[in-house]
């Protein structure tokens, strides 16, 4: 059964079409990732679904019906930028949000699942960025929601804090909750989500399971050259390549032939790496620009 269905969602602002006919459905208990660069329309899409912004057109069905008053009681939301209430401790902040709902998550469960034990009596403004994200996640779970929206929950976190948050999301999933996640980190989407939708310019340009998408669009390998490779040395290559900020990436389905061509063209391969194609390559292929661009 689908917990959320979005059909032909459109959101226009006076000067920009932020969401342009987006459709998807999310089975209950799954994790759905909206992937795309800044400005792709991910946040606008989920803010329209959350009810923060009004849609221009399209349908949104929650548990098979239009969103009613129960929607706010049953969904948990972590916004991209939220200031915590001032002059409250972490414990008071959690209770503050719990008390706004009819259904409340058990406090000890929230503390345990979001690993807040050590900071419960600390003032909000004295906690670190990673701790704040964990608290915001706990706030999103304050009403023991069926559906949780996480808008770029790991942006700005160090790798360790990011992995901690992934672990929390996995545990939320194990509770049977549905998660909708926006991110511009490929690895995050690949690790956490069963289904991903890649957005660019307000449209979904590809959607499916990560492995399915890779098998469909990105079967080959990527050769990464970090040295100075001249354009004229690369221009005759049989495979496609992109010059990015600090490197050149060549996509090929035949690594041996590609390397032979590079050696023939006298390209310096000293700092070369070869890897299987991932979602980032897929995105580059589909849109012509990199995810964090």
């Amino acid at each position: 059964m689908n917990i959320l269905e979005v059909n032909g969602l459109v959101k226009h602002f006076p000067e920009v079409k932020a969401v342009d006919g987006v459709s998807f459905s999310i089975p209950a208990g799954s994790c759905f990732g909206l992937l795309g660069p800044n400005g792709a329309g991910k946040t606008t899409t989920i803010e329209v679904i959350e009810g923060i912004q009004k849609r221009t057109s399209g349908d949104i069905l929650y548990k098979g019906a239009r969103r009613g008053p129960s929607f706010r009681q049953e969904v948990g939301i972590q916004l991209q930028n939220t200031e915590l209430p001032q002059f409250l401790t972490v414990r008071e902040t959690l209770n503050f949000y719990r008390n706004l709902y009819d259904r409340r998550a058990d406090l000890s469960w929230l503390i345990e699942i979001c690993r807040l034990e050590e900071i419960m009596d600390r003032d909000n403004w004295k906690i670190s960025g990673g701790q704040k994200q964990r608290l915001l996640l706990a706030i999103a779970l304050a009403n023991d929601p069926d559906l949780v929206f996480l808008d770029e929950p790991t942006t700005g976190l160090d790798p360790q804090a990011r992995r901690h948050l992934w672990e929390i999301v996995r545990r939320i999933r194990m509770q049977g909750k549905t998660v909708v996640l926006t991110t511009h980190y490929m690895e995050e989407a690949q690790i956490l989500c069963e289904t991903i939708a890649i957005m660019d310019h307000g449209k979904i340009i590809a959607m499916g399971e990560p492995e399915e998408l890779l098998a469909q669009y990105a079967r080959g390998s990527t050769v990464v050259l970090r040295g100075l490779a001249r354009d004229d040395a690369l221009s005759g290559l049989q495979c496609s390549w992109d010059r990015l900020e600090d490197r050149v990436e060549i996509r090929t389905e035949n690594v041996n032939e590609c390397l032979r061509e590079l050696i023939r063209n006298d390209v310096d391969l000293t700092a070369m790496t070869i890897r299987s194609q991932n979602l980032e390559d897929l995105f580059l292929m589909l849109t012509g620009h990199s995810l964090r661009g």
């Binding site: 923060i52 209430p85 002059f87 706004l100 009819d102």
Partner: protein, 344 residues
């Protein structure tokens, strides 16, 4: 619904009293103003004075023959306000709306015994027209209001105005700017619940701090409230409610603290000067007096002065009470209709 409103109410109160700088200032400010002004008046440093004249234009010949009066009228920084009769003018003197009353026709004057300003103007009069016949001093009859008792309701009202407007208006705008309101908007909390909790929280804070300052100043200056305390609390509460509602109206949409601060300043400064907090509008132009009547602070200060200074019952101040109640309802209705959780 009640639990959600209680949650917001408690959180806002904690925010208020844990913000020690703001909390301390809201208590300390009125004390400092009262202490500062009582010190200034002790030192006779006021520069502007108001002198009431009884019918001088009706008796120009006799008045013109007094060199003392002629000389006195030329004194700079003294404003002369005309009254038709002593009956009309004497209550103004008792309530410090004028500093001295002169009857040029009869060659007499009245001055309040407790008014430092009256003392200064009396000296100015007696030193005018040296060598000529002196005006005779008449005793003031009736209850004379000590100057600090006249000033006190105004200072309390002004403190409530700043606390209500900035404490609600500025805070809501800050919540909107930093995204706290946006986060609350995705919970089951309704705008009505949020706004009601904000109003109740600020009202409790206003009544508590005002009571504390009142008690402190009453002990320090030993003044009395001649009317009903219940009426006084009612008028302070109603006036405070009106100004809290005005704060919410100003904060209904803006997400810019600079803009909200500007609007609040545009409102508070004229209110402070035209609501007779510092000086009376006796003798001011009619349009200035009319403008002053649109401010809730004017009516609140007027009512609280009449309760404290004269013991006037509420039943005699129904028009002012109606204006305060009406403005509160109007501001609240507009603020609720215009309210937005987030900037567009």
């Amino acid at each position: 619904m009640l639990r959600r409103m209680w949650t917001i109410f408690v959180a806002r109160n904690k925010e208020f009293y844990r913000d020690r700088a703001s909390f301390g200032w809201s208590i300390l400010f009125p004390f400092l103003v009262i202490i500062g002004f009582s010190f200034l008046f002790d030192q006779d440093r006021q520069a502007m004075y108001k002198v009431g004249l009884i019918g001088p234009s009706a008796q120009p010949e006799r008045a013109a023959r007094s060199p003392q009066y002629d000389d006195f009228r030329k004194t700079r920084f003294v404003e002369f306000v005309e009254f038709a009769s002593a009956d009309e003018a004497l209550p103004k003197l008792l309530h410090h709306r004028i500093d001295m009353l002169v009857d040029p026709g009869a060659g007499e004057y009245w001055v309040s015994r407790s008014s430092p300003r009256g003392y200064v103007v009396e000296k100015l009069l007696s030193s005018s027209g040296s060598g000529s016949a002196q005006f005779k001093k008449r005793e003031v009859e009736g209850i004379e209001i000590p100057y600090v008792e006249w000033m006190f309701p105004g200072i309390l009202g002004m403190n409530m105005m700043f606390s209500a407007l900035f404490g609600v208006g500025y805070v809501v705008v800050r919540y909107r700017k930093n995204g706290a309101l946006k986060r609350l908007s995705v919970t089951p909390l309704s705008p009505f619940e949020f706004l009601t909790a904000q109003i109740i929280s600020r009202m409790v804070i206003l009544i508590a701090t005002t009571s504390f300052v009142y008690a402190g100043c009453a002990l320090m200056y030993r003044f009395e409230c001649r009317g009903s305390y219940a009426a006084l609390v009612f008028v302070f509460a109603l006036g405070g409610f009106s100004m809290v509602a005005l704060g919410l109206l100003i904060a209904a949409r803006s997400a810019s603290e600079e803009f909200a601060g500007g609007v609040l300043n545009i409102l508070t400064w004229p209110m402070m000067f035209l609501s007779e907090v510092w000086f009376s509008l006796e003798g001011a132009k009619p349009w200035v007096k009319g403008l002053a009547k649109i401010f809730p602070l004017t009516h609140m200060v007027d009512c609280t002065r009449r309760i404290m200074n004269d013991g006037t019952p509420l039943s005699q101040m129904l028009p002012q009470v109606a204006v305060l109640a009406g403005s509160a309802v109007l501001f609240l209705a507009l603020g609720s209709v215009l309210f937005q959780w987030q900037k567009k």
